[in-house]
């Protein structure tokens, strides 16, 4: 490989400072343009008709009356979205999720769509579409879906690697681990075994899905869209609609949150298909209700956790049996739970068995460290129970068993340098651990793990004749990457941060970039920009050499300036980047740096959290008193943003732990598709979330960067569960720990004496 991604421990001038964010003014003044903020001449309003049934055969769809309404320009059903992917299963699933094909698989599944001249006309047309449904039995609970005789969600599904003749809702069963757990449990002095459940939650991004689609009669199209990955959206839309990838230009808007929910297409192919049929631009903006019913929340789960330990605190065996529902289409969410469940610990005998199960709910999407928070809830709750059983401090118990460099991870490989022990040591010494607790108050802590990955990345640096710098990246800025990437360019080129402008380029401008997921934005584009900047510095040295008429080997680049090397050039005046840029039209034209890479070498990340709560024993209501996050960030490029990621992840975890929940009725319909009845935390629900950044460099990145955005959503469910348990003496085994659920647990325990 030409560019070496190894960590070099170089000294920094810009990296690690807290420079002003580049998008702040636009966002607070309303100038920033989000998914719904684009318009085009002659645009139509797109709307989607959704199934009111959890599971139903679609016997017919009659659009004839709707088509006759004045102002209706196009109506589409699955007949307008034929299979263009030759039955490729994962893409066909996405297509079927965009528009039901013969069967509605969940409440909110799209069955038809309309484009009309205004919203009123579009609504009228939706009402005029007649769908003849035959209601089928449904199942929305993961345990019920695994029972013999449960309604089958997808008749083609067979358990991967299992019986090829048996219809089932179990799409796959994954196993991870090593050692012999039977022998390990036989060695244990104490064995704790518990079952846990977590309910389904939505990412809760404030900006609903929105796009403006335009397809012309020549087959070329444009899409403006709120997305975490416009290159992925381009590829998926082009494949699903039979378009050439090069003829579909996708531009990503500012994004009002994604957290995994905007990693693949939902209604964008529908908008493009409507536009193609109407030969007019179509703007499609989902309502909040549609976001809840028709896009991808995370899984609900059910799990059994078993831990055996010696009286001295060493764990001898650990087992997790995890059942995750994927919605109506197969996914890998249970598998991810299985990979992450035991990753914090150094265990001689460990096993995770993970089931991915179909139910009549929306297709599950990633949600920030997908699947890890639920497994951590079960594992970290059980860890506390084991610590109590052997009368050991829960932090010391975890430290004794924590993974370290050289530990074989429960998911397979051996760890390099990792930070779990450092986070636990920091928790042990954190001032919050000494804060006094009052009546009905309790303290809990928990650990969490998440991966990080890189992927295909492409970046360009262009230097203007005034010495300012444009950085073009293809990774959508979901968490401040334009700031961190500008800092990296400034660091490498040796110019002030304020002279660098970073933009997210559209799909016609750069080569493919993978989606911003897996905490990869700053990791991967940062790597590409380092190499692109070094590429540009090579050109800057060449231009200085040309100016001085000396060999390029005799030009040194230091702090943004070219210096001639050797005494023979003592009469030559150093040339700054600005000097060289000003003369660039006469030394060879524009100066640029470019890089394409697959940014492998990602490092894993760990966090440990402390939570203090007060529980009202009369109402079951929980108030978070204090909350502290400790996480290994690798090198923190912009500490403000890193702290913001820690706080945001913890806040989402707090909402998940205490309130957020998809509530389904017996009819399989979602009962709370709105923020009034689905309660995410607001500022008044939260204390200031304290943060501690640890910097254990990732050896696989030149700056030591690790992903930081996801890990800290992993511990909160368990940290809060442990705190509530310590506050009221009742072990909570069901998330969210909402007031009715806590009250019921307290009353049940009182009744039991």
């Amino acid at each position: 490989m030409k560019d070496d991604p190894s960590f070099t421990n170089q000294a920094f001038k810009v990296i690690g400072t807290r420079v002003a964010r580049p998008d702040g003014i636009d966002k607070v003044t309303g100038r920033a343009r989000y998914g719904a903020d684009a318009s085009a001449a002659g645009q139509l309003v797109g709307m989607i008709l959704r199934s009111p049934h959890a599971h139903a055969e679609i016997r017919s769809i009659d659009t004839s009356k709707a088509e006759k309404i004045a102002g209706v320009k196009a109506i589409i059903t699955s007949a307008d979205l034929p299979d263009k992917v030759n039955g490729k299963r994962d893409m066909l699933d996405i297509l079927e999720n965009c528009m039901a094909r013969g069967r509605a698989l969940y409440d909110g599944h799209a069955v038809a769509a309309v484009a009309a001249i205004d919203a009123e006309t579009a609504k009228k047309a939706l009402k005029a579409i007649k769908v003849d449904y035959k209601i089928l039995p449904h199942v929305t609970d993961v345990d019920a879906a695994m029972q013999d005789g449960a309604p089958i969600v997808q008749s083609w599904v067979r358990t991967a690697g299992g019986d090829a003749n048996k219809t089932t809702n179990v799409a796959q069963v994954s196993q991870f681990g090593h050692g012999n757990i039977e022998e390990g449990f036989a060695e244990a002095d104490v064995i704790i075994e518990r079952s846990f459940k977590t309910e389904q939650t939505h990412q809760g991004y404030i900006e609903p899905h929105a796009c403006l689609a335009s397809v012309g009669p020549d087959g070329s199209g444009e899409l403006w869209v709120t997305t975490q990955g416009h290159y992925t959206f381009r590829t998926q839309c082009a494949q699903l609609l039979g378009m050439d990838i090069a003829k579909l230009k996708v531009t990503s808007s500012e994004i009002g949150g994604g957290f995994g929910g905007k990693t693949h297409v939902w209604m964008e192919p529908v908008a493009l298909a409507l536009s193609r049929k109407a030969n007019r631009p179509v703007k499609l903006v989902l309502t909040r209700e549609e976001v809840f019913r028709g896009t991808g929340p995370t899984c609900s789960t059910s799990m059994d956790i078993k831990v055996g330990a010696k009286r001295d605190g060493r764990i001898t065996a650990a087992l997790a049996v995890l059942r995750y529902q994927d919605g109506a289409f197969p996914g890998i969410w249970g598998m991810l739970g299985g990979m992450t469940a035991w990753a914090c610990y150094d265990l001689p005998n460990v096993k995770a068995i993970a089931y991915d199960v179909l139910v009549n709910r929306p297709k599950v999407a990633a949600y920030r460290a997908p699947s890890a928070p639920m497994a951590a809830f079960g594992v970290e709750s059980t860890m506390d129970l084991v610590a109590q059983a052997i009368d050991m401090d829960p932090v010391e118990f975890r430290l004794l068993n924590a993974a370290k460099e050289g530990t074989r991870a429960s998911y397979g490989p051996t760890y390099g340098p990792i930070g779990i022990r450092a986070t636990l040591e920091a928790v042990k010494n954190h001032p919050q651990m000494k804060a006094k607790l009052g009546p009905n108050q309790g303290r809990g802590m928990a650990c969490g793990f998440w991966f990080n990955f890189g992927g295909q990345t492409c970046s360009t640096i262009n230097i203007g004749t005034d010495g300012t710098v444009n950085v073009s990246v293809g990774t959508v800025d979901v968490g401040g990457s334009r700031a961190s990437l500008s800092m990296i360019a400034a660091e490498e080129l040796g110019v002030p941060y304020e002279t660098v402008k970073c933009s997210v380029a559209d799909t016609a401008t750069l080569g493919h970039n993978d989606t911003t997921e897996g905490s990869r934005g700053t990791f991967s584009s940062g790597m590409a920009i380092i190499f692109a900047a070094r590429n540009a510095v090579g050109e800057l040295r060449a231009r200085a050499a040309k100016t001085w008429d000396v060999p390029v080997e005799e030009v040194e680049w230091k702090d943004g300036t070219a210096y001639p090397m050797g005494d023979q050039h003592h009469n030559l005046k150093p040339l700054s980047l600005k000097d060289i840029a000003a003369k660039s039209p006469r030394t060879g034209g524009p100066i640029a740096g470019h890089n394409e890479t697959v940014a492998d070498g990602a490092g894993v990340s760990f966090a440990s959290h402390i939570c203090d709560v007060e529980v009202d024993p009369e109402t079951g209501s929980t108030r978070i008193l204090r909350y502290a996050v400790v996480q290994d960030a690798g090198k923190a490029i912009h500490p403000d943003y890193v702290e913001g990621q820690f706080q945001g992840a913890a806040a989402q975890g707090i909402g998940w732990a205490l309130n957020e929940e998809y509530v389904y009725g017996k009819d399989g319909r979602l009962q709370n598709a709105g923020f009034l009845d689905y309660r995410i935390p607001v500022c008044s629900d939260l204390p200031f979330i304290d943060t501690t950044i640890l910097e254990i460099p990732n050896p696989g990145h030149p700056y030591g960067i690790r992903g930081v955005g996801e890990t800290s959503i992993v511990p909160p469910l368990a940290a809060i569960g442990n705190a509530v348990s310590n506050a009221v003496g009742v072990r909570m085994n069901h998330v969210p720990m909402s007031p009715p659920r806590i009250l019921k647990a307290i009353k049940t325990q009182r009744a039991a004496g």
Partner: protein
């Protein structure tokens, strides 16, 4: 060398937890696996990652595999 196989990938190698393969790069390793286990080919595009001495590689199939390295075939993951 011995290559550990985790998760569902085992189904593609007849259930083996570990297999013996000699390969100098990830590409050579994957090609040999496809030769030996034809079902493995369907997994190459989006389902496989390779960890070499603890470092996970998803896309750089040119990565050399050092002699006596720890090699683990693991599922390719998604994030949020």
């Amino acid at each position: 060398m011995q290559v550990a196989v985790t998760g569902l990938l085992r189904a593609a190698v007849n259930g083996a937890a570990s297999i013996s393969v000699e390969a100098a790069t990830i590409r050579e390793l994957l090609n040999k696996l496809v030769d030996r286990y034809p079902k493995f080919e369907a997994l190459l595009d989006s389902d496989v990652a390779v960890a070499i001495n603890g470092e996970i590689f998803r896309d750089n199939w040119s990565e050399p595999i050092p002699r006596d390295a720890e090699v683990v075939l693991m599922p390719r993951i998604q994030g949020g």
